[in-house]
């Protein structure tokens, strides 16, 4: 092969070499996250930090929703919102028709009516509706409460303006707890704020759930 005819080949290799010499893609820092783990006192001056995420072997997570007040649509939207937070399929969930086969059960009931469990998450109290999630291990346990129960209930007539929107964002908030965000954000623009007012995830929500699903959990799902 003459040198002249090799020029296009050499040109391509040169272009590749120039391209390869450029810096590769750089990932964002993802440093703006909030505490998602459950930190509980275990005695004078000692604490225990509990973290959890659903193991990939259990995905897609099976969620059953009571068929009332448009709950199935609210939960389906919440699943889509949280799935979109991940780049590498760390989480997936589907709605199932039978609660007997579900990992998470969404009920139209008030969490306030249930027996108070010390480790249960604080209620979220958006104005038009309320919600709660029972997932955090009971004292002394290293397993979540399974199946996870999520409670949603309007505080006014369901036809009242704002109630449906409140149920939708509260479903997203509670599913965040059911996925392993055990605590609340202190920033009102996060969906995991104690009294959420936004309907979509913030960058902090996304960064936090990504981090939660890449940290080795010390709480597991009980054998079932």
């Amino acid at each position: 092969m003459k040198l002249g005819s090799a020029l296009p080949i050499l040109g391509t290799l040169l272009a590749a070499a120039v391209g390869l010499s450029c810096a590769d893609i750089a990932a964002p820092g993802r440093s703006d996250v909030y505490e998602w783990r459950f930190i509980t006192s275990t005695g004078p001056g000692t604490t225990d930090t509990l973290s959890f995420h659903w193991p990939r072997s259990m995905l897609p997570l099976k969620i059953w929703s009571q068929d009332t007040l448009d709950f199935p649509n609210h939960v389906a939207h919440a699943i889509d919102v949280w799935k979109a937070a991940f780049l590498y399929r760390e989480f997936d969930a589907v709605l199932v028709p039978d609660s007997n086969a579900a990992d998470v059960i969404v009920l139209a009931d008030s969490p306030a009516k249930l027996p108070v469990a010390a480790a249960r998450l604080e209620l979220n109290l958006a104005p038009e509706c309320e919600g709660g999630t029972d997932i955090v291990p009971l004292p002394g346990s290293r397993t979540i409460q399974y199946p996870v129960r999520v409670f949603l209930l309007p505080r006014f007539d369901p036809a009242t303006p704002g109630v449906s929107e409140c149920l939708a964002l509260t479903a997203t908030h509670e599913l965040g707890h059911a996925m392993g965000i055990f605590t609340h954000s202190s920033v009102a623009t996060d969906i995991m704020y104690v009294d959420p007012i936004v309907s979509e995830l913030s960058e902090r929500d996304v960064g936090t759930i990504e981090r939660a699903y890449h940290v080795q959990p010390n709480v597991t799902v009980p054998v079932h």
Binding site: M1, P8, T12, A15, A16
Partner: protein
């Protein structure tokens, strides 16, 4: 972009009457290996890569000088893609690519020839999710390769091809997430095919 790729695929297969006697066309089937698409770090390093991909290519070229031709080559590949974090592999679905290269071709010796060109590559994920949540992407592509064409039939040669190409990869979703720059992706393919004999025997 998809329409363009479809046209470029059908065009050589359908035959073109212009300078038909001198038109060179071929089809090849092989496999393509690609380097990492994305390198990330969330607590640990995570890399995303396309699996070894079956590849189908069509090409057509016309003489532009006694020993040189110019041509278009389209290639389609489809395979799974996955992320790897420590020792955990996660299947991310199916990823197809379509590329078109405008090539310059020339002889080496005997039945061997070289080619080099510039073009575009499109990534077409089966599902808009993860790094492709905001859809696929189209990038500039530079490629080169060698062909060896021993005679097979009266009007057809066997074609053994080695290809190398390079592009820089990113997606709208990665940009939206705050990733900066792009990832250099190199691909190598090896394929076998049939080419219309340049000189009928």
């Amino acid at each position: 972009m998809r329409v363009l790729l479809a046209l470029l695929c059908v065009w050589p297969a359908a035959g073109v009457s212009v300078a038909r006697a001198q038109t060179d066309y071929y089809a090849r089937l092989g496999v393509t290996f690609a380097t990492d698409l994305v390198s990330d770090n969330i607590v640990q390093d995570i890399v995303t890569r396309q699996s070894l991909a079956p590849t189908l290519a069509f090409g057509v070229s016309f003489p532009i000088a006694p020993a040189y031709s110019a041509g278009l080559e389209t290639a389609f590949s489809s395979s799974g893609y996955h992320s790897t974090e420590a020792d955990l592999d996660t299947d991310l679905g199916t990823l197809a690519t379509g590329s078109v290269l405008l090539n310059l071709e020339g002889p080496i010796r005997h039945r061997a020839s070289w080619r080099a060109g510039l073009g575009l590559i499109s990534y077409l994920p089966s599902e808009n999710s993860g790094i492709f949540l905001a859809g696929g992407t189209t990038r500039f592509l530079a490629g080169a390769g060698f062909d060896y064409r021993p005679p097979l039939l009266t009007h057809w040669d066997l074609m053994v091809s080695l290809r190398y190409d390079f592009h820089r990869f990113s997606t709208n979703e990665l940009d939206r997430r705050g990733f900066t720059g792009s990832q250099g992706v190199q691909r190598v393919s090896l394929s076998l095919g049939l080419a219309r004999a340049r000189v009928p025997r």
